[in-house]
């Protein structure tokens, strides 16, 4: 029996029988593509002409001076087309869908970044597109919903469960078990049943491949530490893969601390003690669940980190102590965001900012001749409503109130 897709004791493919054939085809298509150098070449060509790869590695001179420790470098996934690393995975899967000859794609989305990326890919490749998005996220990330629709996608707000990412994933699967003949499910992160974690990690590995080359030429040696936020884990796996073999490079995943681990309102599955082993959404990993195995509600200011599960690959690396995990609270995130904006003129997405928080905590205690890399998975523009909210910006509120009245008037 095919027991592929395990990372230590984590992963697998816990799928309904009706999808068995679909996954078999998908695995074959993926393995063929992965084995074929032309495919990766085609992928690179696409990403360098349609998106802006290689994305730069920016030396954050002012932040470095501010903390007076390690040299801080930022990997700029925000400069991807659609503004986040999600494009890497989506465009790769798009090429795969073309090869499989399917005509429709579906996807779940949390922050909306994966949804926008998928809608974009669908427009570019001429696929029909349906995006499932938790109702709560539809509200939190309205601008992304608007763009998805303008890009020609149908956005379905998911009202079941906690109305966030996990529920969107369930809904996407419900669509897929009906439509698998002509439809591909574009999983947005390194989670879900095999081969998704391996596939998404492979496409995202482009981040780490670039970052490794870039830091060596910019800093002359490997970084001492690499930080990335962890929702499902795709941007983290993306950059970590560039350094996995280098024992001297410490890898740090930063989860959503929400209102604080102690409050229980967070999404820290590996940092802290709240996560436990489980099987859901088609794979085995550490979940935030109760003693019966019912998934718990999670909280984060960053919709994209607000998820009960985490990549089985990361769980394995965590168990093997190769990746260290930490959590950043909403409050710490807003502070780090403000500092990064005013010091460097860079606006990281709220998700990405979690990585900045931990890097800022550790930079001062590191040596000046050491370097650290923060993976800036996306840009913060999409978060304007959330950020303006969090900063309680009066002129913004006034503006929205005025606009609202205008609209209400007609």
């Amino acid at each position: 029996m095919d027991k592929k897709g395990y990372y230590g004791q984590w992963g697998g493919a816990f799928i309904p029988e009706v999808l068995y054939e679909t996954f078999r085809e998908l695995k074959t298509a993926f393995e063929t593509a992965k084995g074929n150098p032309d495919f990766w070449a085609e992928y690179l060509a696409l990403m360098s002409s349609y998106s802006c790869r290689p994305t730069p590695l920016t030396y954050a001179e002012n932040l470095t001076a501010h903390f007076g420790g390690a040299r801080i470098y930022i990997k700029r996934e925000d400069l991807n087309h659609t503004g986040a690393h999600k494009a890497n995975n989506v465009m790769g899967q798009g090429l795969l869908v073309k090869r499989m000859g399917k005509k429709r794609v579906i996807a779940e989305t949390g922050a909306g970044q994966h949804g926008v990326a998928t809608a974009t890919m669908a427009a570019k490749f001429g696929f029909d597109c349906t995006i499932y998005m938790g109702e709560e996220d539809v509200v939190r990330q309205r601008p992304n919903v608007f763009w998805m629709e303008k890009l020609g996608a149908t956005v379905v707000p998911v009202t079941s469960g906690s109305r966030t990412l996990k529920d969107a994933i369930n809904e996407a699967f419900r669509d897929w078990v009906t439509s698998m003949d002509d439809t591909h499910y574009v999983m947005g992160t390194v989670c879900g049943p095999h081969p998704f974690p391996e596939m998404v990690a492979w496409f995202q590995s482009i981040i780490g491949q670039e970052a490794r080359k870039q830091i060596l030429s910019a800093h002359g040696k490997l970084p001492a530490r690499v930080f990335a936020c962890v929702g499902g884990g795709s941007n983290a796996m993306g950059i970590f893969q560039g350094f996995l073999e280098d024992a001297e490079v410490e890898l740090i995943g930063v989860e959503a601390g929400g209102h604080g681990i102690e409050t229980g309102q967070h999404a820290a599955r590996l940092a802290g003690q709240d996560g436990s082993a489980g099987v859901a959404q088609g794979y085995k990993t550490m979940f935030l669940q109760d003693s019966d195995g019912q998934m718990r509600d999670t909280h984060s200011v960053a919709a994209g980190l607000d998820y009960v599960g985490v990549s089985p690959i990361l769980t394995d690396l965590w168990e093997k102590k190769r990746v260290r995990f930490a959590a950043a609270t909403d409050q710490e995130v807003m502070a780090a965001l403000e500092l990064t904006m005013t010091k460097e003129g860079i606006i990281p997405a709220l998700e990405s900012t979690h990585g900045f928080v931990q890097a800022f905590k550790e930079a001062p205690e590191m040596n000046r001749d050491e370097a650290l890399i923060i993976n800036m998975s996306g840009r913060g523009d999409k978060d304007i409503f959330t950020i303006a909210n969090a900063f309680d910006d009066p002129s913004w509120k006034e503006f929205i109130i005025k606009k609202g009245r205008e609209y209400a008037a007609d």
Partner: protein, 254 residues
């Protein structure tokens, strides 16, 4: 094995058997109790009791909502087990557990089997556990002589059915169509071919579920399948007309 034998015996006396489904704790255990009584009194041959799960990936809106509401009512796995013990003690027909793997996994798979035996459960239907992931589960099923119900889908190839059949026991649950529970199915030519494939692949009785909602459906299955599975329909019935509507409905099916 006991479940299979029981089904064969029943089938000897009836053209087709009926398996019904319900979600434990929805709308309440009291209603479950009443509904089960009506089902049994009206000649249902076996019942699958679904232990609610927060992520019922393979279920449609109706059963999804039932799972959620039950959990919001505070239903715990322990409650389901206690209730099952009471039910199996007070009714003669076999009862199965239907649930998602995480429920067993968190409880402890072997512990769960022991408990199942203790409360006289005859088998498990776990839609998100293909045999590839079920080694421990399947071994324990043998060890404790409980039926691990395998699932066929219209998308299953003959090879796949053969593979599944190897691990099957009790009966095979044939999903009538693509998609999730709760939508109508039309039993067309393709369906006939599908059932023929199923039949060729195994000696075990065949249960057919997904979208079976009235006598007409059941009649159509008669001859092709051994067991007709009534799922969503009874839940909708209870929501709309209350538990007392279940008895007459079941009676009307055969």
């Amino acid at each position: 094995m006991q479940l299979t034998e029981y089904l064969r015996k029943q089938k000897a006396q009836k053209d087709i058997l009926l398996m019904t489904h319900l979600v434990l704790g929805y709308p309440s255990f009291a209603v479950n109790r009443e509904v089960i009584k009506q089902m049994v009194d009206n000649g249902v041959d076996l019942i699958e009791m679904q232990i609610p799960f927060s992520e019922p990936m393979a279920d449609g809106p109706m059963i999804l909502k039932a799972n959620q509401d039950s959990l919001e009512n505070g239903t715990k796995v322990r409650d389901c087990l206690d209730f099952a013990a009471e039910i199996t003690a007070s009714h003669q027909i076999p009862f199965l557990f239907m649930t998602y793997y995480n429920i067993l996994f968190k409880y402890g798979v072997e512990k769960f089997f022991k408990k199942a035996v203790e409360i006289n459960i005859k088998g498990f239907i776990v839609p998100d556990l293909p045999p590839e992931e079920g080694e421990e589960f399947l071994a324990l099923a043998k060890k404790y002589d409980l039926a691990p119900i395998m699932i066929y889908a219209p998308t299953s190839t003959e090879e796949r059915m053969a593979e599944l059949a190897k691990h099957a026991n009790g009966f095979i649950y044939c999903v009538a169509r693509r998609g999730v529970t709760g939508k109508k199915t039309d039993f067309d030519q393709d369906f006939g071919d599908y059932m023929a494939r199923c039949r060729r692949s195994t000696e075990l009785p065949l249960a057919v579920g997904f979208g079976i909602s009235d006598k007409e459906d059941v009649d159509l299955l008669t001859g092709q399948a051994d067991i007709a599975v009534i799922g969503t329909k009874t839940i909708r019935l209870i929501d709309e007309k209350g538990p007392e509507a279940v008895g007459p409905f079941i009676a009307s099916l055969r």
